[in-house]
């Protein structure tokens, strides 16, 4: 065991059991999966993406490229979990990825021997022929061989949530800079959110031995976090990664709510996706240590120096028995000192600089480079070159430090390009890269603890000033302020073997050289050609290194070569979290009719129409096919009486002295001339001349109208009216409101409809008082209702609107009365077929692509007044020869069914795209005619009545000769409507 007997921030009183690749292991509360694996001397944790190289833990944070795990079992398994960020819990089950049959013996490691063939861009060159092999052979092979974890292939049953938060100040990162910023801001009276991806606040303070105000840094961090937790104006969000910066001070953040719990409560989501609106932001996301590339630098046991300090200081684990260091800066030496203090054996410290001396009692090689390593499944030795020659050093852990890259990621999300700072040899955020954001601490290149504390306090004081508050007097606690001493050094050249840059995507310095040779030299081209920086870690440890290698090859400086950029998300976000409450029934609201319960009692079949659940059929015993039910319901309406719930039709109540003026503007036909107590059919156009919607307009009073719209267009029409009254004609004295939900509405249609309705209403509804297209306010059982004599079936028909709370009671009453007359309920199938028999329009015809003229209602566009869309509806191309016109179709010889969307061709014409002359929009079987009928658009259709044309549906393989006919198939003179 590599666990130290004391120290660290693990809780030795809470031992935990977990398993890795089926092996049961022990750890402690406060461990990550990575620290617990290292404590169990497990160094080999995964196989690489492309070459299946054995890999170990590199880092101790979210930048980890290697230690990706498959967590959990069965359909709840999660792939690509970074062991370095996963908190350990009792019973955690982890498995390594991308290996078969086992981690130590992986068959596909043969890929590594084939590496000469698998360089950058190999698939562009290798798998070119024969063409058919790509889909059948090459791609399946590559997909099997390459890859990370695997999905379960089953539905994700986990609960995800989404949430919104608002604050004055969002502090991203809870290290010394972030804690100081949050504390200063909160003490100054700001509403503060402090988010950190770790489960403990403190950032590097938890991993270092620095002191703040005379106490250990980790203790100071815990103390500040406790003070913040006690403040009402502070929300602490541990385990929360701010993943993206967006316009107007909005940020996306992923909170891991229950990934760390052995037995989470049922109500807890796995993750919550936050949208945070912040007036100001302080980015204090710290920095990420960068590796140095050298031959075979990917062996398990080669780690970042900062990670070695994290495991030693925070988790009390020594990652090796005999540890060596390779550094170009003082951090390597600090690591050696920390390790010595913990009793570790230091093999050697290799420093690329010549002018340094050891800071303690450890062997130091100055002006040296690590030129190679050995140990197939774990590091055994390193080869060191220096001026005096080469030597081999036995070691099982090599800690590498190439300096630090500030975490500039979020500052790139709105096109900010980081700028190069020569003195620290690193990119820092551009000024004002994100409006409202300040950057403090290591994220800004201020690496010492003192600098971080000061910068955090200062940034918060500036924010307080911005927001009109007074900054509290702040004492910066005493802390180290060591200068950066670093000699830029990126990669060891001239040694044998591959030197890895991007460990997750298996990109080496040779791949960058290949990109250079083949002239993919711009940073963006190099990235895409080699895939460097394109894995789930987005090149957190590799981008700058790749840039440096390209700079060397092109003999330019790094800033001349290019800059690095990062896109959201900072770390991967599960689609389940992004789509929280957007799956299944949560995708859209479900709306139910007032008569829904009754329809279900009657055994109706339902379909979803937009957000509404509407009955399509009311089958009766013995009916085995939908057509039987539909035909019976249609015959019932045409012979006795049928009732149907039409509540979803949009209803808009319009009132005011200028109501009629507005309606004349929005309807193509004139509504101001409509008499009180009358209803008129109307059509609205868009300004481009195309039909927007049709419906009815009833005038209940001089200044009071009620409009109906198609169910699907209700919200569009309403917004259109708002546009006309607010944007075009705000001077009009008119108010309107959607009353779709306030009124339940039923259609009672058929020859016996008046019998039914007259028994129901308290008033006289004789044909004299309520003729066709009349409306009136009536009472039913003392309830004020509205009665409209309008029809969508071609039969004598009434619509009754009743306040919605009485809708179900009225539905039951209507049903009983209809049954007594030999009628009953009908569904959407019959409703639709009845309207097709009569040539009435729906949005199958009114798609937004056709004018009123094309729809056969061009005559409704009033010549006497202006209306929206009038001018452009008369453009020459829309009124000239060859325009589309809606017509009816009937089969010439027996036809089973028309085909919606099928093309129409002239007889003898070649049936190819471009020759089509129209298409079928709606079709049904007409029981009245006992054959199928359709509506269709056809070029110059109205002048082609009687012509035989071809209907062709290539998708369904249907071809039939049809006759062009009038749209109205039943009662063409409309006699049944009247009387």
């Amino acid at each position: 065991m590599s666990r130290l007997t004391s120290g660290g921030q693990i809780d030795r009183t809470q031992p935990l059991r977990f398993s890795f690749d089926g092996k049961s292991l022990a750890g402690f509360k406060g461990d990550t999966l990575a620290s617990a694996l290292l404590a169990n001397d497990i160094r080999l944790v995964g196989r690489s993406f492309k070459y299946h190289r054995p890999r170990g833990i590199l880092s101790a944070g979210s930048e980890e490229p290697n230690a990706l795990m498959q967590l959990g079992l069965g359909d709840q398994t999660t792939p690509n979990v970074r062991a370095t960020t996963q908190e350990l819990y009792e019973g955690l089950i982890a498995a390594s990825q991308n290996r078969f049959p086992s981690l130590a013996f992986d068959l596909l490691s043969v890929n590594d021997l084939m590496a000469p063939f698998f360089g950058a861009g190999f698939y562009y060159k290798t798998f070119m022929w024969p063409k058919s092999f790509w889909e059948k052979v090459y791609e399946p092979f590559i997909r099997r061989a390459a890859g990370l974890g695997r999905l379960s292939g089953k539905a994700d049953r986990a609960l995800y949530d989404k949430a919104f938060a608002h604050c004055d100040l969002l502090v991203i990162g809870g290290g010394p800079a972030g804690l100081m910023a949050a504390l200063t801001g909160a003490r100054g009276g700001l509403d503060v959110i402090l988010a950190d991806e770790d489960f403990a606040f403190g950032g590097r303070l938890n991993s270092e031995t620095v002191e703040i105000a005379g106490q250990p840094g980790a203790g100071w961090a815990a103390q500040v976090a406790a003070e913040l937790a006690g403040m009402a104006n502070v929300r602490l969000m541990p385990r929360t990664t701010v993943t993206g910066a967006y316009d107007g001070g909005t940020y996306a953040a992923l909170q891991r709510v229950s990934h760390h719990l052995a037995d989470p409560a049922d109500h807890l989501p796995l993750e919550t996706f936050w949208r945070i609106a912040a007036r100001r932001t302080i980015l204090a996301g710290g920095a990420i240590e960068r590796p140095i590339a050298f031959a075979n630098n990917d062996r398990p046991g080669v780690m970042m120096a900062s990670a070695v300090r994290s495991y030693a200081n925070r988790f009390a684990v020594l990652p090796g028995q005999r540890i060596s260091l390779f550094t170009n800066n003082d951090d390597g030496h600090r690591t050696a000192l920390d390790l010595l203090r913990l009793g570790a054996d230091i093999a050697t410290v290799v420093d690329t600089r010549s002018d340094v001396v050891a800071m303690g009692d450890y062997p130091l090689i100055t002006g040296g480079q690590v030129t190679g390593t050995s140990g197939r499944l774990g590091l055994k030795s390193i080869t060191v070159s220096r001026a005096s020659g080469t030597l081999k050093v036995a070691t099982d852990c090599l800690a590498v430090s190439g300096g630090w890259n500030p975490s500039v990621h979020l500052t790139c999300h709105m096109n900010g390009r980081p700028v190069w700072r020569e003195d620290i040899a690193a990119f820092v955020p551009a000024d004002n890269a994100i409006p409202g954001m300040r950057v403090a601490g290591a994220a800004n290149g201020d690496f010492s603890t003192h600098a971080a504390l000061s910068a955090g306090a200062e940034a918060a004081a500036e924010v307080l000033g911005d927001l009109g508050k007074t900054a509290p007097a702040t004492v910066i606690p005493a802390a180290e302020d060591a200068p950066i001493r670093l000699e830029p050094f990126w990669h060891v050249t001239g040694s044998k073997g591959r030197a890895w840059l991007d460990l997750q995507n298996d990109v080496t310095t040779k791949d960058v050289a290949l990109a250079h040779r083949e002239n993919f030299r711009s940073v963006e081209h190099m990235k895409r050609y080699t895939t460097l920086g394109m894995a789930t870690d987005q090149g957190k440890t590799s981008n700058v290194g790749g840039l440096a290698v390209m700079a060397d090859l092109t003999q330019r400086s790094i800033p001349e070569t290019g800059t690095t950029t990062f896109r959201p998300p900072y770390s991967p976000v599960a689609l389940g979290a992004l789509g929280a409450h957007g799956a299944g029934k949560d995708f859209a609201p479900s709306r139910y009719l007032p008569s829904d319960a009754l329809a279900r009692e009657l055994g109706a079949h339902f379909i979803e129409m937009g957000v509404w659940y509407r009955p399509s059929l009311f089958p009766q015993p013995g009916e085995t096919h939908w057509r039987q039910t539909c035909d019976r319901e249609m015959r019932m309406v045409r012979s006795t009486v049928g009732i149907t719930d039409i509540t979803p039709f949009g209803k808009i109540d319009v009132q005011g002295a200028d109501a009629a003026v507005l309606l004349d503007l929005v309807y193509a036909n004139t509504m101001s001339s409509l008499k009180q107590g009358r209803v008129r059919y109307g059509v609205m156009l868009r300004e481009d001349g195309m039909a927007l919607d049709d419906g009815t307009c009833a005038r209940l009073g001089e200044d009071h109208f009620v409009l109906t719209t198609t169910a699907g267009a209700a919200s569009d029409v309403f917004a259109h009216l708002e546009f006309c009254t607010q944007v075009l004609r705000p001077e009009l004295d008119v108010q309107f409101f959607s009353v779709t939900d306030q009124w339940a509405q039923f259609s009672i249609a058929g020859p016996r409809s008046r019998e039914l309705v007259s028994g129901l209403c308290d008033e006289d509804i004789s044909n004299e008082r309520i003729p066709y297209m009349a409306c009136a306010e009536v009472t039913i059982g003392g309830i004020g209702c509205r009665l409209f004599r309008i029809s969508f079936s071609g039969e004598r028909s009434y619509e009754i609107a009743i306040p919605a709370r009485y809708g179900e009671a009225l539905a039951r009453e209507l049903g009983q009365r209809a049954a007594a007359l030999g009628g009953g309920w009908y569904g959407l199938e019959a409703l639709n077929a009845l309207r097709i028999e009569k040539g009435y329009l729906t949005h199958a015809e009114m798609t937004g692509q056709y004018t009123a003229d094309a729809l056969g209602i061009g005559g409704m566009v009033s010549a006497k007044k202006d209306c929206i869309g009038k001018v452009l509806s008369q453009r020459s191309a829309l009124v000239g020869p060859g325009k589309m016109e809606l017509i009816g179709l009937k089969p010439v010889s027996p036809l089973k069914q028309f085909s919606g969307g099928a093309f129409l061709f002239s007889q003898g014409a070649r049936q190819v795209l471009g020759n089509e002359e129209g298409h079928v929009t709606s079709h049904c079987h007409s029981p009245s005619l006992d054959h199928v009928i359709a509506m269709a658009f056809l070029r110059d259709g109205r002048s082609r009545l009687g012509e035989h044309i071809i209907m062709k549906d290539n998708a369904r393989g249907i071809e039939a000769v049809c006759e062009v006919c009038a749209m109205v198939h039943v009662d063409p003179d409309g006699e049944r409507l009247h009387g």
Binding site: F164, Y246, D247, G248, G249, T250, R275, A277, P435, E687, D688, A719, E722, F723, Q726, V727, L728, P730, E731, D866, K870, V871, L872, Q874, R875
Partner: protein, 90 residues
């Protein structure tokens, strides 16, 4: 993105529906001719800078709003109720 609704204050962009240029406020006179309407309906400037445009606070107070937004930076310079702007223009 956040939008300042003159009635409701700063709100998430998702509450709003975008329509397009505020040129749509100036509907040509009925007798202005076909070309005037073609330009009104179809012809648009696409400046990499300041742009006056119409938004509907659809999931809020349902006001049409005239916003001045920088199309490069997405920064809003101002937001006013379209009805107020239109009345003021008269």
């Amino acid at each position: 993105m956040r939008i300042d609704c003159p009635n409701c204050g700063s709100r998430d962009r998702r509450e709003f529906q975008y329509l397009g240029t505020a040129v749509l406020m100036d509907r040509p006179a009925p007798d202005a001719g076909e070309q005037a309407f073609v330009e009104y309906v179809y012809f648009r400037e696409n400046p990499a800078g300041a742009h006056r445009e119409l938004w509907l606070h659809e999931m809020g107070c349902r006001s049409w709003i005239v916003a001045e937004r920088n199309m490069g930076s997405h920064e809003f310079a101002s937001t006013r109720l379209a009805a107020d702007v239109k009345r003021g223009a008269k």
